[in-house]
């Protein structure tokens, strides 16, 4: 992949635009975004991704990723 292509391919994570990477997983996105919390609900293009699939589900180009952090208290 050349540099130009890389610049063009993006995804959105909680309204932040970041570069898409080949074989990009949820685990990789959490690392890039520096999200260290464990209690999460993750949706990719509107579809729920279960925790068991965070290192398997491949993020498509232009994906809209939402990471929701659930905090105890109620």
């Amino acid at each position: 992949m050349n540099a130009d292509n890389k610049i063009m391919k993006k995804i959105t994570v909680n309204d932040n635009i970041i570069d898409w990477e080949k074989n990009m997983t949820i685990i990789r996105i959490l690392k890039i975004m520096n999200y260290t919390f464990r209690m999460l609900v993750v949706k990719v293009n509107g579809e729920l991704v279960n925790k068991a699939n965070y290192d398997e589900f491949l993020i498509p180009v232009d994906a809209d990723v939402k990471v929701i952090h659930l905090i105890s208290g109620g």
Partner: protein, 212 residues
């Protein structure tokens, strides 16, 4: 008190929509007990509430229960209190620990689901179960409600049919506990959003927000 008297402060146009609505509440603690009280006062037709806990002294700092109810199951005490507020809402309560298997059964008829748990693990379990079984029905969750002040940080975020109310920041930790004002605010943000979803969907042509 008859129905007309109870609803005399309501806009008559919205009463049929409110009375038709069925709302599920998962948890009857700080969030759930406050949400249920507000929705009963609002005139929602049916509330389905589940919780397996009993009332402890520490609950009285933020939950809608009373000293003489300590030791009673929360859903039983809540039912008692709701019946003192209004008989124009049907209350279905379940003294049960909710899980992936019973949630789709207990809440199958609701229009909108409300997440009102305390523990993050349970919040995630409910949200994932709900989005898997009922992806087209809204679920309103709460995250980041502890402490005091910081009104400005409280917000509602929409992710498709999932809504999150709270600051999404404040962790429970030593020195930061859930307290009545902030828990009550977020519970009522959840209840207020329910009214918005129900009434805007059904009464859009009649609503004129500028006049209110």
């Amino acid at each position: 008190m008859n129905k007309k008297e109870f609803f005399s402060a309501h806009d008559p146009k919205i009463i049929p929509t409110l009375q038709k609505a069925v709302i599920g509440i998962a948890g009857a603690g700080g969030l759930g007990s406050n949400i249920a009280v507000s929705l009963a006062r609002a005139g929602i037709g049916k509330l389905i509430v589940a919780d397996f806990d009993k009332i402890e002294p520490s609950n009285l700092n933020r939950q809608q229960f009373f000293i003489d109810q300590i030791g009673i199951p929360k859903v039983i005490a809540l039912l008692e209190n709701l019946n003192k507020i209004s008989s124009f809402t049907q209350y279905h309560v379940h003294e049960i620990k909710l899980n992936e298997e019973n949630i789709p059964f207990i809440y199958k008829d609701v229009d909108i689901m409300v997440e009102a748990f305390d523990k993050a693990e349970m919040k995630i379990m409910l949200i994932e179960t709900w989005l898997t079984h009922f992806p087209n029905k809204p679920i309103i969750a709460a995250s980041g409600i502890s402490g005091w002040g910081k009104n400005k940080l409280l917000h509602t975020r929409k992710v498709d049919n999932l809504y999150i109310c709270g600051d999404e920041k404040t962790n429970l930790q030593t020195g930061i506990s859930p307290m009545a004002p902030r828990v009550g605010i977020v519970a009522n943000m959840q209840a207020n959003l329910i009214l918005e979803l129900i009434l805007n969907e059904n009464n859009q042509p009649q609503m004129n927000m500028d006049e209110r």
